[in-house]
């Protein structure tokens, strides 16, 4: 694949737009911070993590209600000051907290799974400077790709460095 290294998010944005328009296979763009709308330009589909989050919230909600009704009504009723055993309003705080807890951990767990992130992972970093101040556009090379023209687009867009990278990410 070919890499174009830039130092300005605005340039990266416009070059990526041009590359996509010209029909190149943009693999991904690596940036030190989230550049807004770049995901739309390279055609990243809206993540379904929000749906996952909702499902986890519902799981937490149901588990919390099940736990409380089972423990205080079905399994072992206790008479504390004559208060009712099955009393939905007093279940609200714990139900709320557990919904949040399940959402946070479930959603973040899914985030790690879809990104294949785990503790101790040795990732193939495209360029060490990408977490500092450089922006890298990676374009996949196919048999039909016009490498010369691609290089030209990179350079005319303001690339400070263009190079080839053997290993596919």
């Amino acid at each position: 694949m070919m890499l174009g290294v830039y130092d300005n998010p605005d340039t990266v944005f416009s070059v990526t737009e041009n590359l996509v328009k010209a029909g190149y296979d943009v693999h991904d763009v690596y940036t030190p911070f989230a550049v807004h709308n770049l995901d739309k330009v390279i055609g990243v589909k809206r993540t379904r993590l929000s749906i996952a989050a909702f499902c986890f919230a519902m799981t937490g909600l149901v588990s919390a209600i099940a736990l409380q009704t089972y423990a205080s009504y079905f399994d072992w009723q206790m008479n504390i000051g004559g208060k009712p055993s099955l009393h939905i309003p007093t279940y609200i705080p714990i139900t709320f907290e557990l919904s949040i807890l399940f959402t946070a951990f479930g959603m973040v767990g899914c985030f790690f799974i879809v990104n294949r992130m785990f503790w101790g992972r040795n990732t193939d970093i495209i360029d060490l400077r990408v977490t500092d101040d450089r922006f890298v556009i990676a374009v996949n090379i196919h048999s039909k790709t016009d490498v010369k023209a691609l290089e030209q687009t990179f350079v005319s867009g303001g690339a400070i460095e263009v190079r080839e990278r053997a290993k596919d990410l």
Partner: protein, 468 residues
């Protein structure tokens, strides 16, 4: 992309580039610890040792080591607990609520505020453990089956809700903090060598900075902020219900949840100011945590302090209006009884003192802001002391009226908890980036990187703004 008016003061001053941000913020991590760090850390460690000694003594001796008695069953322990939980709230407010409101000035202070949240909740949790007297049965409030040897917990009790609220709050805050740290840990990783690289590589989880990852990252950051906002409100509401659902005059009021939340934010910002007014100078971060940041935080302190003051006055009005003589006596006793001094310290520090922030001078003079932040911390500690001790010490039967005097052990635990807090905070300053670099880079105007920026137009168009 967002447009910012050129007349607005920039959020990051000094014409910093992205590389400058990385270098400036990682300076404490990548160099040997400075003298001031060692002094601060050593003092904190000594105070932490006091905490360890006093807590160990309490465990060995039992709650008899404290000044509690039959009438005043809660005093320093729960005061300290509520105080520390409250401190924690500013961190979540800054990172979650200000994210939802798109307040970009939060970006250079959210990391240290969130760290503060986590360490403050650790301090608070230590008081829950020690106030039990028998900390080895601390698992009893967790719902465990009857066959385990205890009965199911009482789900009608706010104390059980509190167990869920505090543990959820701590773990969700930790997750939120860690998610924010991952891109920055990757930055450290990519500049480090040897063992450092190994450790930071381990915790960076293979972060690669690709647009796909950022896309998902922004989504989960937004949702975490969305769920943390009601969470932080619920936590202190539930803490307040520990009191409000009881029948003790002075506690049994419906105003407690909003009043506690406002107080928590107030005290939390007090502590953020205490840390950052010093930290920005010591860590040479004046260009990131600007006077504008201090000004904004002072305004929040003034606003929330006034809200708390309004609540104090409302309580008096409601007591008078209710016609309940116990309630009325509880409040008259607060202001003019044997603990009158604690009530007036509270009133002075929390309602009257923050009014100085109406003046520009007060909001732009760092030493004065620091002084005020200490006053706020003192005032909010006394608020909890007033609520707990003055309400309890004269209960329904005058024959059981009594006074509460703390012992040296209790003072040692209170002072020592600051040692626990600051030891953790100093370690954080040394080993993790104290400012969210990825977010701060996103609010730097891109023209700072334009070599020809003299000719280029000076519109401050910003790219990005990580999930903001």
């Amino acid at each position: 992309m967002s447009y910012e008016s050129p007349i607005r003061e920039p959020l990051v001053t000094g014409g910093k580039t992205y590389a400058d941000v990385t270098r400036d913020i990682l300076r404490p991590l990548e160099n040997n610890a400075s003298k001031s760090w060692w002094i601060g850390f050593s003092v904190s460690a000594v105070v932490l040792a006091i905490w360890i000694a006093a807590t160990t003594w309490t465990m060995l001796e039992g709650i008899g080591a404290w000044g509690l008695n039959k009438t005043v069953g809660w005093a320093f322990d729960i005061t300290n607990f509520v105080f520390w939980v409250g401190i924690g709230h500013a961190g979540t407010l800054i990172s979650a609520v200000l994210l939802l409101f798109r307040q970009k000035w939060r970006m250079s202070i959210n990391r240290s505020a969130e760290a503060m949240t986590i360490f403050a909740v650790i301090c608070a949790a230590s008081f829950i453990l020690s106030h039990m007297g028998r900390p080895w049965v601390a698992y009893w409030p967790i719902p465990l089956p009857n066959a385990f040897g205890t009965l199911w917990v009482n789900f009608n009790s706010p104390l059980v809700w509190d167990v869920f609220a505090i543990s959820t709050y701590f773990s969700v805050s930790l997750v939120f903090w860690y998610i924010g740290l991952i891109p920055d840990i990757a930055t450290v990783r990519d500049r480090a060598e040897g063992l450092r690289k190994f450790i930071y590589n381990f915790f960076s989880m293979g972060w690669n900075g690709s647009t796909r990852t950022w896309h998902r990252y922004e989504m989960i950051s937004l949702i975490l902020a969305g769920i943390s906002t009601p969470l932080v409100l619920s936590v202190h509401s539930i803490v307040s219900m520990d009191f409000a659902t009881s029948l003790v005059p002075g506690w049994h009021t419906t105003i407690f949840p909003p009043y506690f939340v406002a107080g928590a934010i107030f005290s939390g910002f007090g502590m953020v100011l205490t840390l950052l007014v010093i930290g920005r100078v010591v860590l040479k971060q004046e260009n990131y945590i600007t006077m504008g940041h201090l000004d904004a935080m002072c305004r929040i302190v003034m606003l929330t302090g006034t809200m708390v003051g309004l609540a104090y006055i409302t309580e008096f009005f409601v007591a008078a209006y209710s016609g309940v003589e116990y309630e009325q006596y509880a409040f008259i006793n607060r202001a003019s009884g044997p603990y009158w001094w604690s009530y007036w310290i509270m009133m002075t520090c929390n309602l009257i003192a923050p009014q100085v922030f109406w003046t520009k001078w007060a909001r732009s003079t760092p030493w004065f802001i620091f002084l005020m932040s200490i006053i706020v911390n003192i005032g909010m500690w006394f608020e909890r002391f007033v609520i707990i001790v003055t309400s309890l010490h004269r209960d329904f039967i005058p024959s059981s009226w009594t006074m509460y005097t703390p012992t040296i052990t209790e003072f040692a635990i209170l002072i020592g908890s600051f040692g626990l807090f600051f030891t953790l905070y100093f370690l954080f300053c040394k080993y993790l980036p104290t400012i969210n670099m990825a977010e701060v880079k996103s609010i730097i105007p891109t023209h700072a990187h334009d070599e020809h920026h003299q000719e280029a137009d000076h519109s401050t168009i910003e790219k990005g703004a990580a999930h903001g």
